[in-house]
Amino acid sequence: MPTNAASLTLDASPASRPAAGHPGIQSLRVAQKEVIADGVVRLRLEEPHNARVPDWTPGAHIELVLPTTDAGSLSRHYSLCGDRWDPHAYEVAVLREPNSKGGSCFIHDELAVGDMLTVGTPRNNFLLSQATRYEFIAGGIGITPIMTMIVAAEQLGIDWHLHYGGRTRASMAFLDELAQYGDRVTIWPQDEKGHLNLSFLSEPVDGGRVYCCGPEPLLNAVAGAASAWPSWAVRFERFVPATLPEPVRTEPFELELALSKKCITVGTDQTVLSALSDAGVPVLSSCNEGVCGTCEVSVLRGTPEHRDSLLNDAERAKNDRMFVCVSRAVSDRLVLDL
């Protein structure tokens, strides 16, 4: 989900950030920074001792901890867009979003080659499954995870097509790299051609999958246009969490922690994550919006109210896990594997 999360309001409090020296955290050097389209910079983040960085798969994202002020920092998630055959570095492309909390502006205006950045381990909530054909749909900076999927599809010899929309041609990153794929790629700048034509989605393709990353209106348009496809065949990566309704429960609920043998109450005014932290059972978290997947916890009994933007319907129905930064309980009690 979190790709260029510039529009994400991710503001991990210091308490929820892993301590330095956590194995999931590494310190990487900004080795290159270049403008690749209007308002888009690409960063290359290198392991300073030429050691390997943790492996990743197409669609994965990493967390960058950005020291935006002297007092604090912002946590932002960006899709990886580099070459996984390069084991010593990650690459991300970042869109400047002046209306956001300042993470992307910090990267554009202040971050310099040579700076060190704290970087999380890659996570992937947008996995490329095996298929006989891929329809890739990207809106704006949503092209980043799709770029790595295209490389994989080429290597696998699987038929694919990219539909790539953007405000203007000049604002669209990676057009040069995409030129080599000829008519597999449809470039759709809005100022020249209007909104992406999604009529190709009206008929489901047997064995096909749709992968879509972009702003919320595009995701909604694709979900509507692909309504005839099976839900599992259409996969989205969100910049921002889906809008949440009010919680179903208006009363507090109980948490039983199986490993630490504790029982705690989650009040209506706190999250499961904060209740756990208060009880001395902190869970690693990052986005606090149910989009990044960091705070996954196993549910042993009880029914969670899933409020994340990660699980699909089938995964939700299993009720065997939850993202404690946003998800709550339907049942009076949840038994967690903590």
Binding site: R52, D55, T57, P87, L128, Q130, A152, Q155, S298, D337
Partner: protein, 405 residues
Amino acid sequence: MSTATKCPVNHGTVPVLDDDPFSPETLENPLPFQERLREAGPVVFLAKYNAYAIGRYEDLSAAVANWQDLSSGSGVGLNEPWRARGLLQMDPPEHDAPREVLQSILSSRVLRSMKDTCMETAGGLIKALLAGTAPGGQVEIDGHTGIGSKLPVNFFPEASGIDEEGRENLVPYADHIFNALGPDNGLVEQGKCKAAEYTEWATAKCQRDALKPEGFGADIWAAADRGDILHEQAPLLTRSLLSAGVDTTVYGISGMLYAFASNPEQWEALRKNPNLARVAFDESLRWESPVQQIFRKTTTDVTIGGSVIPAGSRVMLCFAAANRDPRRWENPDKFDLSRDPSGHLSFGMGIHQCVGQHAARLQAASLLEQLVPRIKSIELAAPIERHHNNTLRGWESVPLRLTLA
């Protein structure tokens, strides 16, 4: 066998060994070969097989993580594979989706939820073996035929949803697959006559309608229904659970029992502090790696420890040698529960690291939990017998004398 000599062929400065890692003598006791391998250099050339080999911990750790330059896609044996390609013989990106599916099916969370079932299976096995022996009395059993070769053959196919018919085929089926990762020697020759029959049996058991409605096999098919993998991949993935998950765990558990029997003071230490069960299995895997080595093929010239392995070479990654490398492990030949065995390479490392490791650990932990309160001491009752396999450190017999608490 030889010590390192100057290479007659053009292998630069890489030392040459003319050892046969697959000879009956080496398979009976691989430790002297593995020591020569480690001590000759970071990389050696195995003249008999025209292959390179790595045995030092640091170099091997780097090599096994490096999927980019050391590929699995043309098989993980000495020669190109003879059978359909499973997860172990795939490179990214082909490897990505099926690996993800198996990893979530065999996650530590899922396996933790199977603890009760596994404890019951292990408990039933142990109770039957000890029945009729009074507290304080002694009983002689075979740790391999009575425990090691029983628990995984009961637990794992059950958890996978494979029906009961023909489960005795599992160990010989995988025995041949692991032999075939070595040279075409007598062991492979012996297995050939029944290989097709076993493969046919295993393939039939992994078809959707042959699987029980719940289990790892059914989970794999469900992943295909959800579109994470293709349906045509499901039988082969299910089959790879059976070929990779049974013999390795059998020998792991038999090896752990042998480790305790030949180091009785470690059993005493475990009895005093049952929390050591957490490290016991992994330490025994370090000490006696069930998978001794696996091969890769270089996709480019690769520099390891200052030596260059040319592109297109087959490279033996000898986990067993690295697990006893004195550069990494203090007193490496000692089975010692007071050490931290973290980082041992018996499950491999990197993107191909054993996906079933939580299943193996669950079985070993359940077994120890059943044994510790009941068994006061454990010792060897007679000489052990090895089972030779080109890849696995196998067992025929681990005769044990158990004194009940």
